[in-house]
């Protein structure tokens, strides 16, 4: 067990934006919520998965909805309280902790705020090790964990409990309910035992986000290289954004960004295709990285992550690729989050192999 203070939360927010691969919403609001709660209730207890007993209950928390709504209609702060009460009653025991379902983007910091506000610890793990857009795109889903019973609470106090036949239906129904609730809701789902957490989650993701954030903050000389050494990632490209195209398809911000190489990449071109998150990176017509591996665009000098909404002409950027958690690399996992699910008819090849070939 260790404590997370304001500084740690600041670092986690930066690291979460790197793991967000351009999407998942800006962790800024969740960060301020956590800091607000820490200032009133004190630092957050962080447990390693091993510290949770096999039959203990852990309730992951997150926010669902449009980041554009969340930055305007900030939550009340104690929405998760009622969700915990109902789920604890349903499972017949007190929850010992919360956890993050998504290490990338705003949902890395929301559970921190919940932990601080409710006075429960948070477990050092998450459901993805990155950001993904849909509820079934989590490692627990691959292990047969059900998202429901799921609770959705809005700031007005409306509460919806879902019991669905599978996690795909959970995604459909909860997404529709979010719209009615005003575009955002606090959710509690994928309630798990300590045993399930040990098997069916990505471990160490909070520490990873925190360390990434700390490296980018402290290392002024070569932040990106130092960060890549830590995450065992690769520099895919270094270039200037010369074109960004966006269009809306069924509520998703799809688009692509074109980079023109600089330094040793001069004369080469990189194309990133995104749908909220960065999905595929194509260099001179050849795929160099794809989901579920992480593709993140960093500002060249400071190493600060740039979201897909923030991509714009003229940025000097370094594009990095980070291997995803091995649990995403099975055939079953690739059906859920592989390139084909997102509409790219290509085989997934792990980034280590793609980079090795070069």
């Amino acid at each position: 067990m260790r404590l997370l203070d304001e500084r740690a939360v600041e670092d986690i927010a930066i690291g979460a934006a790197v793991l967000g691969t351009g999407g998942g919403g800006d962790p800024y609001i969740g960060k301020l919520m956590a800091i607000d709660a820490i200032s009133e209730h004190g630092p957050i207890k962080l447990l390693s998965p091993e510290e949770v007993s096999d039959d203990d209950l852990v309730i992951p928390t997150a926010m669902m909805g449009a980041p554009t709504v969340i930055i305007e209609k900030i939550p009340r702060g104690d929405e998760a309280l009622e969700a915990f009460r109902i789920l604890e009653k349903r499972f017949g025991k007190k929850a010992v902790a919360t956890m993050s379902i998504e290490a990338g983007g705003i949902n890395s910091t929301i559970p921190l705020a919940v932990a601080a506000r409710l006075g429960v610890p948070i477990v050092d793990c998450d459901g993805m090790g990155r950001a993904f857009p849909e509820i079934q795109m989590v490692v627990p889903h691959l292990y047969g964990v059900k998202a429901t019973p799921m609770i959705m609470v809005d700031e007005k106090g409306n509460l919806v409990m879902l019991d669905t036949i599978d996690n795909i239906w959970t995604e459909r129904i909860s997404r529709a309910a979010t719209v009615v609730m005003g575009g955002s809701a606090v959710i509690a789902l994928y309630t798990m035992t300590g045993k399930q957490i040990k098997e069916a989650t990505v471990h160490g993701s909070i520490t990873m986000a925190e360390t990434i954030g700390r490296i980018l903050r402290e290392n002024k000389k070569n932040p990106i290289q130092a960060m890549l050494e830590y995450v065992k990632g690769y520099e895919i490209f270094r270039g200037k954004i010369v074109d960004v195209m966006r269009r809306t398809v069924a509520g998703f911000a799809r688009g692509e960004a074109r980079f023109e190489g600089i330094d040793e990449y001069s004369g080469h071109e990189l194309l990133i295709r995104f749908q909220n998150e960065n999905l595929v990176a194509i260099r001179d017509g050849e795929i160099v990285a794809s989901v579920p591996d992480l593709i993140t665009v960093l500002e060249a000098e400071t190493g600060q992550p740039i979201t897909t909404e923030g991509l714009r002409y003229g940025y000097r950027a370094v594009v990095v690729g980070i291997p995803c958690n091995p649990k995403w690399r099975t055939p079953k996992a690739l059906e859920v989050v592989g390139p084909r699910y997102f509409g790219y008819d290509i085989d997934y090849i792990p980034i280590e192999e793609r980079m090795c070939k070069r």
Binding site: L32, V69, I74, P75, R76
Partner: protein, 527 residues
């Protein structure tokens, strides 16, 4: 003939220009900036009127930018005690107002806040009805706590202004018609904390702005400008009336660079290109898109507070006419330190002991300055190799910044303005990387004041449209119409108003029935 005066107050010089109806330059002067600013403005006004021999009665408008508000916020001095009223309950309680403020600034504005029931959803439904009783109590309490101004921010006020407007009426009933009230939807866009923070900063500089604007008006009267109306330039390069500026002075922040980009556009009649403004200490590089500066896409901090103002997208480099050039063991270093206006004492050519970029330009003979204090013999001992290296460094600093501002590899025209522009050798104008041509317009040294004088009036809207009952095209059409009406309401001549910017952002992670549309329209000031 109706004439206008544009004024630019810089760190060294206060410039004033007179323009006629057709935006032709009638006369221009440079005077010394004074510590109190206002005296310098009065001097500039008197000089430009005297020099031009224009009848002061013919001047119909005076336009200027002011740095008073920015300075007060940065220095945390003479700020008003602000009562912050957020209309949002039960939403938003997770982050209190002023939470994102640095502690010293939070104290400087009094740290008085309350959150009351109300606010809207993204589609215009109410989160909760506005609790008027709670609001009246909050208003009275804030008076007891000695609030001098009130800032009001309600959730999704860019979508529905109802609660903020009704709250303003109630505050007026409780605290009096003249009690200063800032409504967040007048200054910021979507993003509650950033908009609220901007509203608080605005409420904090009300008294400072009032004093500065009154002083400007007095200076105008003293200079005999009895018919002229005062306008202030805003951060987006457009104008606001003195009365509006008294209520929303925060909009004056960062108007300077915008004016020089607009001035450069006017002097060259260029719509798209890059503007390089070389001053004494800094070079600013900005992009001109359809006659306006391109706006920055990232959140802008003012005095350490994140706000969502639309600021011009600029690169500032420490390389101007007074920048120090140093010889190192193996190389040459340019800046970022500068001797600034002290160049006339410290510059090598003037008999000082510091080599500046201007000395380099003089030594190589591509720049000429009419100044009896200069003796080129003092530059004779400078090593030729050192000089050429220095010039190529200066050029590559500017080239890199130009390249960073460009949006495509296509070569673009560059407008070179500002007094420090002499440090770029004219022989290199057609050799700059990625540049189609370099234009150094006549009156380049007055680009900033000219930019203020030609500033337009704009209207802007930024809101979410739900597409249940209209198509995307209809939504955009409606947004454009609203922005045009806003511009006319703000004082633009209706037949000159044009849509200058349309931005469309889908609401991510929400099934596709809502988009956020931002439109800006601008037109000439109707006089």
């Amino acid at each position: 003939m109706p004439l206008r005066i544009g004024i630019d107050v810089g760190g060294t010089h206060t410039d004033a220009v007179i323009l006629d109806e057709k935006n032709n330059l009638v006369y221009a002067v440079k005077t010394q900036t004074t510590p109190d600013v206002t005296t310098g403005i009065l001097n500039a006004l008197r000089d430009v009127l005297k020099g031009s021999d224009v009848d002061p009665e013919e001047i119909q408008a005076a336009m200027l930018g002011t740095t008073h508000c920015t300075n007060a916020i940065v220095e945390r001095k003479r700020l008003n005690r602000v009562g912050v009223i957020r209309i949002a309950k039960p939403a938003t309680l997770a982050i209190k107002p002023l939470r994102a403020f640095p502690a010293d600034l939070r104290e400087a504005v009094g740290n008085l806040w309350t959150i009351i029931s109300g606010g809207h959803e993204y589609d215009g439904r109410e989160i909760a009805p506005l609790d008027e009783k709670e609001l009246r109590e909050a208003a009275r309490k804030m008076r007891e706590q000695k609030a001098e101004t009130i800032a009001i921010c309600s959730v999704f006020s860019p979508v529905s202004t109802d609660h903020e407007k009704r709250a303003a009426e109630i505050i007026a009933e409780e605290l009096g018609q003249n009690f200063p009230v800032t409504l967040s939807h007048e200054i910021g866009s979507i993003g509650l904390l950033e908009r609220e923070s901007a509203a608080i900063l605005n409420a904090a500089v009300i008294s400072i702005a009032e004093a500065a604007i009154s002083a400007f008006e007095n200076a105008m009267r003293e200079a005999g400008l009895n018919k002229a109306k005062l306008y202030l330039t805003q951060n987006d390069g457009t104008l606001m009336s003195a009365d509006y500026a008294r209520k929303y002075p925060i909009r004056t922040v960062a108007s300077g660079p915008t004016n020089s980009i607009r001035g450069a556009a006017h002097l060259t009649q260029l719509q798209d290109g890059i503007v390089v403004d070389i001053g004494g200490t800094t070079t600013l590089v900005g992009a001109l898109v359809r006659g306006f500066p391109r706006e920055s896409a990232v959140a802008v901090e003012i005095g350490g507070v994140r706000t969502n103002f639309r600021m011009p997208d600029l690169i500032a480099i420490g390389c101007g006419g007074g920048t120090i050039v140093r010889k190192t063991d193996s190389d040459v270093e340019i800046g970022p330190q500068s001797v600034g206006y002290d160049i006339v004492r410290k510059g090598l050519a003037w008999g000082g002991d510091t080599i500046t970029t201007t000395d380099v330009a003089l030594a190589l003979g591509y720049a000429k300055i009419e100044d009896p204090r200069i003796d080129l013999n003092r530059l004779k001992n400078l090593d030729g190799n050192f000089l050429t290296r220095a010039v190529s460094k200066i050029i590559s600093l500017v080239e890199n910044s130009i390249d960073k501002m460009k949006t495509s590899p296509e070569p673009l025209p560059v407008v070179l303005v500002g007094g420090g522009g002499i440090i770029i050798p004219p022989s290199h104008y057609d050799k700059l990387k990625g540049v189609s041509r370099v234009i150094r317009p006549e009156h380049f040294q007055f680009a900033n004041a000219i930019g203020a004088a030609i500033a337009q009036v704009s209207g802007e809207i930024d809101r979410i449209f739900t597409l249940d009952h209209m198509s995307r095209d209809e939504a955009i059409k409606q947004a454009k119409e609203m922005a045009i009406q806003e511009a006319i309401r703000a004082g633009a001549k209706p037949d000159t108003v044009q849509v200058v910017e349309v931005d469309e952002i889908p609401l991510a992670y929400l099934p596709g029935n809502a988009i956020r549309i931002r439109v800006k329209a601008a037109g000439a000031l109707s006089m």
